[in-house]
């Protein structure tokens, strides 16, 4: 007998005796997550407030080109990385910097040396200040986490109220064939492992900037 069958056999044997009902003996069967989670109100305001708390730099912009140029000047970028996209390609090209485009493969050292990774996203979640992106649509797994600054170019229409809406969207968009990674990114990388004191930029980006058109 394979180990799989042995374990499944033990599971089935164990489950022959029913367990008492959950949550100290009752079963309500209700699944209205949105009614219990923190309220959202106006999505844009909520996203702004969440971003401020998380220290995400969130800005509504008219032109991603101008916004990126401003960042580049402020931080002295020498080289950036991005993926092919409707928003990312023209915006990054407009900077006149060396741009590493990851879509057809890249060298990890090269990506590590970039000052910023610029990506698009699938959605923004107002409730939590979260960026939702996938390995298929936002340049793989490393682009949004290896460079020290992650810049997201998003559209206002991508802003969703809450997490249930975000998961519904993922199912609708990818249900037939999911990408190998779906990432929910909520603020710049952080840790509190030393005396529970917050430090940004533990292993991932120290900065997260979201430009919303």
């Amino acid at each position: 007998m394979s180990e799989r069958e042995a374990i499944l056999g033990r599971v089935r044997e164990a489950l022959r005796i029913p367990a008492p009902l959950p949550g100290h003996g009752e079963r309500k069967g209700s699944r209205e997550f949105s009614r219990w989670l923190p309220p959202v109100g106006d999505s844009l305001e909520a996203f702004r407030a969440a971003s401020a708390e998380l220290r995400t730099d969130f800005r509504l912009v008219d032109s991603p080109e101008a916004a990126l140029a401003e960042l580049r000047a402020a931080e002295g970028w020498k080289k950036i990385a991005t993926h092919r996209g409707e928003l990312t390609t023209p915006a990054c090209a407009s900077l006149g910097l060396p741009v590493l485009t990851v879509d057809s493969g890249y060298d990890v050292q090269d990506l590590e040396a970039c000052d910023a990774g610029v990506t698009e996203c699938d959605a923004l979640v107002a409730q939590t200040g979260t960026v939702v992106l996938t390995s298929r649509q936002a340049g793989g797994r490393a682009l949004s986490v290896l460079p020290p600054h992650h810049v997201v170019l998003a559209r206002r229409a991508q802003l969703l109220p809450d997490l249930p809406a975000a998961f519904a969207l993922l199912k609708e968009r990818y249900g037939a064939n999911y990408p190998s990674m779906i990432a929910l990114i909520t603020g710049p990388s952080r840790t509190g492992d030393i005396e529970r004191i917050l430090v940004l930029g533990a292993h991932g980006p120290k900065k997260l900037t979201i430009f919303c058109l």
């Binding site: 394979s2 180990e3 799989r4 374990i7 499944l8 033990r10 599971v11 089935r12 044997e13 164990a14 489950l15 005796i17 029913p18 367990a19 959950p22 949550g23 100290h24 079963r27 309500k28 209700s30 997550f33 009614r35 219990w36 989670l37 990851v102 879509d103 057809s104 493969g105 990890v108 050292q109 409730q127 200040g129 979260t130 390995s135 793989g140 797994r141 490393a142 997490l163 249930p164 998961f167 993922l170 990408p179 190998s180 990674m181 779906i182 990432a183 929910l184 990114i185 909520t186 990388s189 952080r190 509190g192 492992d193 030393i194 005396e195 529970r196 430090v199 930029g201 292993h203 991932g204």
Partner: protein
């Protein structure tokens, strides 16, 4: 008394009197309490959310066979290699096989309590492989050759001074008292490790049966790098991690963050459903998922305590436990400490050897009240005590209860007993707490409550 009990008692006695240790833990936890309360209060209904979470985990665990079959079928359909391990030994052998086959030179790991459970690092190092923990807290305790102090905050017991000294000694960095600088020292030290590693090993917080994905929750980004850069990635998880549906995460992710660390949502919540897929530019060529039983089915077979498998390892019950706060995480001598550890360790490692943990409780119920999936923790501590005695009755306790029942059922004897006790009490201070004292276990550090001069019965008779 077995060695585990002796160790527990010695360490607990020492640490409960260590004011510095207690101060450190209290300071860390106070920050947690503040943040958690603020975030919890934002929920429209934390209680309804808890109830739903309990029901969803109940459904998952009570249909575990189906959930596991769905989960693994979906993963395999997209090129993941699924392994099943009945025991810790099998799990170690499976990982070692993969690592050997890949001729790995260095291995990067993100947090996985299951790997502590099966002592994976020891096995890998013993076989000559370098393994680096990438979570900052885990990295710190690894450098100290210690086990994690807490399932969510592994280095909670250390001060920045101690960490600075450690880095100075192990990494040759300059001393500093800034947590920020210390974090950056670790960041720099680990960056090159990610890039050089041929194998990445991760844990998992949830396994989604519906879509065949694992979900990892973390703040630092180390798990994301671990699952992105190496050519081969292995995920270890216990079979109880399943959730039925993808959308269940919309409830579980925020609840885990709030209960575990006082956050609205943890910084990175990432789902992985396979190796690099066609059209993707990076990710591992090979993805392995290892499902670990290691006595979980033993716990599953106990219908009364089955809900202990609902645990999402948020650590909230540790944080509120008066025992944990006083004796600290290492004293338990177990992979999983605190109330949940006391409940499950007897199932995973033997009731008679680990029953003492269920005695180390004030039964205050703070753990049950705080648990986001409503596990009946403090009742399970009582269940363990009962089961331990049933399995291995103590003759003198039995005798004492027979004697007690004999006396209380006979008012005359009971009366005499009371009178004798009142007289005996007058002399008790002479031997209180000394080896002659029959109540020594209690009176060593506490006073005995005084018997009233008159019993209720006597007062009733007088005043009627």
């Amino acid at each position: 008394m077995n060695a585990f009990v002796r160790g527990f008692k010695e360490d607990a006695t020492r640490l409960a009197g260590d004011l510095r240790h207690r101060g450190l833990i209290q300071a860390a936890l106070n920050k947690y309490y503040g943040a958690r309360d603020v975030k919890k209060s934002k929920y429209q209904s934390w209680e309804d959310a808890r109830q739903a979470a309990a029901e969803i985990k109940w459904e998952a665990i009570n249909t575990l066979d189906k959930c596991l079959v769905d989960f693994t079928a979906k993963l395999e359909a997209r090129g993941t290699r699924v392994h099943w391990a009945g025991t810790a030994e099998q799990a170690r052998a499976i990982v070692l096989n993969i690592v050997r086959e890949k001729k790995a030179r260095s291995i990067i790991k993100s947090k996985a309590m299951t790997s502590e459970e099966i002592r994976l690092n020891d096995a890998l190092e013993h076989a000559g492989f370098e393994v680096v923990e990438s979570d900052l807290g885990e990295y710190i305790v690894q450098l100290r050759k210690q086990a994690p102090y807490h399932i969510v905050f592994p280095a909670m017991h250390l001060t920045r001074g101690e960490i600075s000294e450690l880095f100075e000694r192990e990494l040759g960095s300059a001393p500093t008292d800034s947590p920020e600088e210390l974090t950056m020292i670790a960041r720099r030290a680990l960056r090159s490790k990610y890039i050089a590693a041929d194998i990445g090993i991760t844990g998992a917080n949830f396994a989604i049966a519906e879509t065949g994905m694992i979900s990892i929750t973390e703040n630092e980004g180390n798990a994301r790098l671990t699952a992105a850069l190496p050519k081969t990635v292995i995920t270890l998880l216990g079979i109880e991690k399943v959730l039925p549906r993808l959308e269940d995460l919309a409830l579980f992710l925020p609840m885990l963050a709030t209960a575990g660390a006082g956050q609205t949502l943890t910084c990175y919540n990432t789902l992985y459903g396979g190796p690099r897929q066609p059209g993707e530019c990076d990710g591992p060529e090979e993805y392995h998922v290892l499902l670990l039983d290691n006595k979980r089915t033993h716990l599953l077979a106990d219908a009364e305590q089955r809900d202990a498998l609902h645990c999402i390892r948020c650590g909230a019950c540790l944080n509120v436990c008066p025992i944990y706060k006083n004796v600290g995480g290492h004293t338990y001598g177990t992979t999983y400490s605190g109330p949940i550890g006391s409940v499950i360790t007897p199932h995973l490692r033997g009731l008679q050897e680990w029953k003492h943990l269920s005695d180390a409780s004030s039964l205050c119920g703070a753990c049950t009240e705080t648990c986001p999936v409503k596990i009946n923790l403090h009742h399970h501590l009582l269940h363990n005590r009962r089961n331990a005695v049933r399995q291995n009755p103590v003759w003198w306790e039995k005798l004492a209860f027979i004697g007690f029942a004999f006396i209380v059922n006979r008012p005359v004897l009971y009366d005499i007993g009371k009178k004798l006790a009142r007289i005996g009490q007058l002399f008790h201070p002479l031997i209180k707490g000394s080896p002659l004292d029959p109540a020594r276990a209690w009176t060593k550090t506490r006073d005995l409550p005084e018997l009233a001069e008159k019993s209720f019965h006597e007062l009733w008779r007088e005043r009627r």
